[in-house]
Amino acid sequence: MKNSSTAKKQLTLSPKDIFITGYIFFAAFYLCVVLSLVDEGSSYVSMVFLLAVFLISRLTEGYFYGIAASVAGVFGVNYFFTFPYMQFNFSMPGYPLTFVTMLIVSVATSTITSQLKKSEQVKAEAEKEKMRGNLLRSVSHDIRTPLTAIIGSSETLLDNPDTEESKKRELIAGINSDASWLLRMVENLLSITRLESGGASLELRTEIIEEVVGAAVVKFRKWHQNSPLRVEGSNELLMADMDAVLIEQVLLNFLDNAARHSKGATDIELKVEKKGDMAVFSVCDNGCGISKQDMPYLFSGTRPGKADSDRSLGIGLSVCRTIIKAHGGRVFAGNRPEGGACFMFMLPLTEVEYE
């Protein structure tokens, strides 16, 4: 499929390439005309056109333009710049040589150019493949642990119907918590694939920020009913262009992160402020903060040598970064001087006139 599409590309004429070809060719022609006013000879003519053919082959896609330029060049030189002027004369000595030289230059240059482009593409593709592989590896690893727990616990329940009631509840609670962790993982993966399948899938709309924040908070409260969350919005009505579903996901990841990992936190604050022409969203807690070892890997999705029990560091934050980057915003994380961690992101505000 790839081959047929490139073949098609060579056959269809692109306006850009036609323009480049025409422009260079005209420049060469004009240069020769100017030079002929000062220099009686004609030795420079074929050199100028050779250079033109080289440039055209280098700057255009495929072989077509280079070859067309060399053919046109040979005839043009013959017609305009060699004796007898303004007519063709193919009996000149060395003429076939000029023709063949131009042809070879054009074909060789085009080949090198397209090879260069192809190798760049291959390199980028390989890089992407590597990233995808890494993500897949870390995800499959992350997924296996809770799945093992779920299967194990449910089998225990199935095989031992007379387990103690309190033990039963414990096992079921474990299944429930592992399953909801898996769910969040899948939601994150969905967000990432939506972004990776091309920027076009970002559904940007002008949203009222407090609505998106409110929706995220309502969802968060459903999972963590006793979380010490405080929400502080801006008094001003703030709007920003965003994909609301994805930004909601980022807020949920931040909140979930604070609820799960800030040991000893008695206060989690979600705040939205206006700073200049940006909206700053922050989730801060007064818990244990971010450890030094974790800091450099926070948003990368993997930490070398992490333990299984740590898994929930997972891909959540790297998803956040991907989403915010796609929105043209920025993410930060750090520890507060008075203790606890802070995660923030900024989005450009949108000014909307309304009556």
Partner: protein
């Protein structure tokens, strides 16, 4: 409980069908199930369920077609079950006449709340007493429809004409999601531009007047990409 409400579950995944059926039975409903569209249509016309729970992704037909064909002859409440990120599908289903939706994965309490509110609205429509409803109460928010007065903790809230109309519509259908388009058409008429900015700015102002914290609404919840929902007393 001799006249238990009968709920039809249309879902192709057996585990989810079982889970829904079990939790609904445990909560005092009678359930019947269908695993594809054909079976569902037959069961709807022969059993006349009181509520239909419809998964949009069915093996043999598009769930939308079921909504369309049921709405040709019945107003039985339809609650759509759909996945996250399918906001346009939800809006389409609601436009076709579905009453509400739940997003997979959902908890039992959420599902029960949707069913309760769908049943109540259907009952009210059958008794055609929506117009006679004199007042509405949810938490500290009270609306007196006769006096067109909204109070929070007994204090009168001053709403503009349009703001009052928005609050009134949402509370009339409390517990049920109302799409942006529906509210806009009800208030600004059918020929308003397709932009929902005006509604959302009005909503932001309403929230500043009735909610303690507009970023953490208690009464009017935003359903991102779909519309608004007024919370009910029992939620």
């Amino acid at each position: 409980m001799s006249n238990k409400n009968c709920i039809l579950i249309i879902e192709d995944e057996a585990t989810i069908r079982n889970f829904m059926s079990n939790s609904l039975t445990a909560n005092g409903y009678k359930t019947i199930t269908a695993k594809d569209g054909q079976q569902a249509l037959v069961m709807i016309s022969s059993y006349r369920p009181d509520v239909i729970l419809l998964d949009l992704g069915l093996p043999d037909m598009d769930g939308m077609n079921i909504i369309k064909s049921v709405r040709e002859w019945s107003l039985v409440p339809i609650i759509v079950v759909s996945a996250r990120g399918m906001e346009t599908d939800k809006v389409k289903a609601l436009d076709l006449g579905a009453d509400d939706y739940v997003t997979k994965p959902f908890g039992t309490s959420e599902l029960l709340a949707r069913i309760r509110s769908a049943l109540r609205h259907w009952q009210m429509r059958k008794d055609s007493n929506i117009a006679e409803m004199g007042s509405f109460k949810s938490g500290d928010l009270e609306i007196d429809f006769d006096k067109r007065r909204v109070t929070v903790r007994g204090e009168v809230v001053h709403l503009t004409q349009n703001e009052y109309k928005i609050v009134a519509i949402l509370s009339k259908y409390a517990g049920k999601v109302m799409t942006y388009d529906y509210i806009i058409k009800e208030i600004w008429g059918p020929y308003t531009k397709g932009d929902n900015q005006i509604l959302r700015v009005n909503m932001a102002n309403i929230r500043r007047k009735i909610e303690d914290n507009p970023s953490e609404p208690r009464y009017i919840i935003t359903e991102v990409g779909v519309g608004y929902r007024m919370t009910e007393e029992d939620e």
